[in-house]
């Protein structure tokens, strides 16, 4: 850490001297906290969030925009953080999976739905799914099964199963409706029944166990 007497510009010049590459001070809002981070100019947003700001909820999978594990909300819209330079975040607002939790600790409807439907599976791809689905439900709060499938098509899960994740999209829509004081079952009866289907929820019981047959 540089001495307090050093201005940011002096720090950046020193870092450039030491490392031989340009450093930048980037100021942006991460999960409602505005902060300035000093990093090499080539740093990707995904690395800035994980390594420099220690918000490790955002996972990095393929690092070239295919898998979707690193998806965060940039000014409310889902984007791949591995396809954004940290320097481009200047003045912008980023929400990661950590930032979706309410201040009192209540989980976001999508997070709760992933627990309810065992959408996490191994959990690696989950943050990308959760942020993508959270943004999707802002635009469409009562999706059909097909729309739910479409909404998650850009994210890869290597646990082989998308059934639980799709069920979580529909369940999250239910939770959202319930929390806003509406009847939890949506207009689309088929999708509501699908999200409640015990077959969908019970497909990944503990090995040899009998639990989970709700």
């Amino acid at each position: 850490m540089a001495k307090a007497t050093h201005s940011i510009d002096e720090q950046l010049a020193e870092l450039q001297e030491e490392t031989g590459e340009q450093h930048l001070a980037v100021t942006f809002t991460l999960n409602a906290v505005t902060q300035t981070v000093v990093l090499p100019s080539r740093t990707l947003a995904s690395d800035a969030i994980r390594h420099h700001l220690r918000q490790t909820g955002t996972h990095v999978g393929c690092e070239h925009g295919v898998c979707g594990a690193c998806t965060v909300l940039l000014d409310g819209k889902p984007v791949r953080s591995c396809l954004v330079l940290a320097a481009s975040l200047e003045g912008r607002e980023v929400t990661t999976v950590e930032g979706l939790v309410e201040p009192d600790g209540t989980l976001h409807p999508v997070q709760q739905a992933f627990i309810d439907c065992h959408g996490l599976q191994c959990g690696f791809c989950t943050p990308g799914f959760v942020t993508t689905i959270a943004a999707f439900l802002e635009e469409n709060d009562s999706p059909t099964r097909e729309e739910a499938t479409d909404a998650i098509a850009g994210n890869l899960c290597r646990c082989t199963g998308y059934q639980n994740i799709r069920a979580a999209v529909l369940r999250a829509a239910e939770i959202k409706r319930e929390r806003s004081g509406e009847f939890p079952l949506g207009e689309d009866d088929e999708s509501s029944r699908a999200s409640l289907d015990p077959k969908v929820r019970g497909t990944t019981n503990p090995v040899g166990g009998r639990a989970g047959r709700a």
Partner: protein
């Protein structure tokens, strides 16, 4: 999978951006949405010493559309904004139809259509759409402004005729003509991924029969090449795809379009896709022309 060291620039105006690009000569690269460029930097297929991020230049994200002037969209207009633009959809429907096939919504939220076009990837949809529709790219540098017609734009895969110090500031495509239909479709391993083969078609119909037909290809043939099938297809029924001329077109396209193998598909499989998609998309464009005509008649009758 990290970019190599670079100097990052954040100009606040297009003039400033042009000046930086002129100063760094051939060492600079323009960054807009970055959805194609950043993977190249991460994989170190590209390693520019200077990156000029035009992302915070104000008033560079407009979309305008009119029957007379067509559709113009600026360098920072994202795929998703252009896709949702109702004026653009009315004036030139193929833009929106093509954009719906570009990657996944998450990528479209950040990627720019102008950027995708000047990236000139032969497996991208929008360069093919621009080539088919014609139109032009407006580019700017310290030396001034010039227009590059779509026919002069593509020099090869990932290569355009833009000079090293030029920035593409907008793209204009002409409005759809009455009686001319368009369609685009592709086959991909996963919807939103790069197409194994894609086809865009523009077909003019007169009296229920095809009068003119042109097509471009994604991931097949030559980048930016517009294939004129009018001689093969003239007189084909716009309402009956069992017309033997449509089958002829399939076979002709298979012969005409070169395909390359890669990790995802053999050249022969791609060739089959070319044959099937050419007829399917061509017919869809013909039907679109008929529907378009019907809509014009209906609205005329309603007055």
């Amino acid at each position: 999978m990290k970019p190599s060291p670079l100097t990052y620039h954040r100009p606040r105006s297009i003039d400033e951006a042009c000046q930086i690009l002129a100063d760094v000569a051939h060492e600079g690269k323009v960054l807009a949405g970055g959805q194609s460029l950043i993977p190249l930097l991460s994989m170190r297929l590209a390693a520019p010493a200077h990156l000029v991020d035009i992302g915070s230049i104000p008033r560079l994200d407009a979309v305008s559309s009119s029957r007379e002037l067509g559709v113009t969209f600026d360098a920072l207009t994202t795929h998703s904004v252009l896709e949702a633009d109702r004026g653009a959809a009315q004036v030139q429907p193929l833009i929106g139809r093509g954009l719906r096939l570009v990657a996944h919504p998450t990528i479209r939220n950040r990627g720019t259509t102008v950027g995708s076009i000047v990236h000139a990837d032969p497996s991208a949809e929008m360069p093919a759409v621009l080539a088919l529709l014609g139109g032009s790219v407006t580019v700017r540098s310290v030396r001034g402004v010039r227009e590059i017609r779509s026919t002069d734009l593509f020099a090869g895969p990932l290569e355009t005729t833009l000079e090293a110090d030029e920035i593409a500031t907008s793209v204009t495509v002409p409005a759809a003509d009455p009686g001319v239909g368009t369609a685009i479709d592709e086959i991909a391993r996963r919807h939103g991924d790069y197409a194994l083969v894609g086809v865009a078609a523009q077909v003019r119909v007169e009296g229920g029969a095809v009068a003119e037909a042109r097509m471009t290809y994604v991931s097949a043939g030559e980048l930016g090449e517009v294939v004129d099938y009018t001689d093969v297809l003239r007189g084909a029924s716009a309402t009956d795809d069992r017309d033997p001329l449509w089958r002829n077109l399939s076979e002709f396209a298979r012969e005409r379009i070169d395909t390359e193998p890669d990790i995802h598909a053999t050249a022969r499989y791609r060739s089959q896709l070319v044959a099937a998609l050419t007829a399917r998309v061509g017919f869809a464009a013909a039907q679109d022309a008929v529907l378009d005509g019907a809509a014009v008649h209906a609205s005329a009758g309603g007055r």
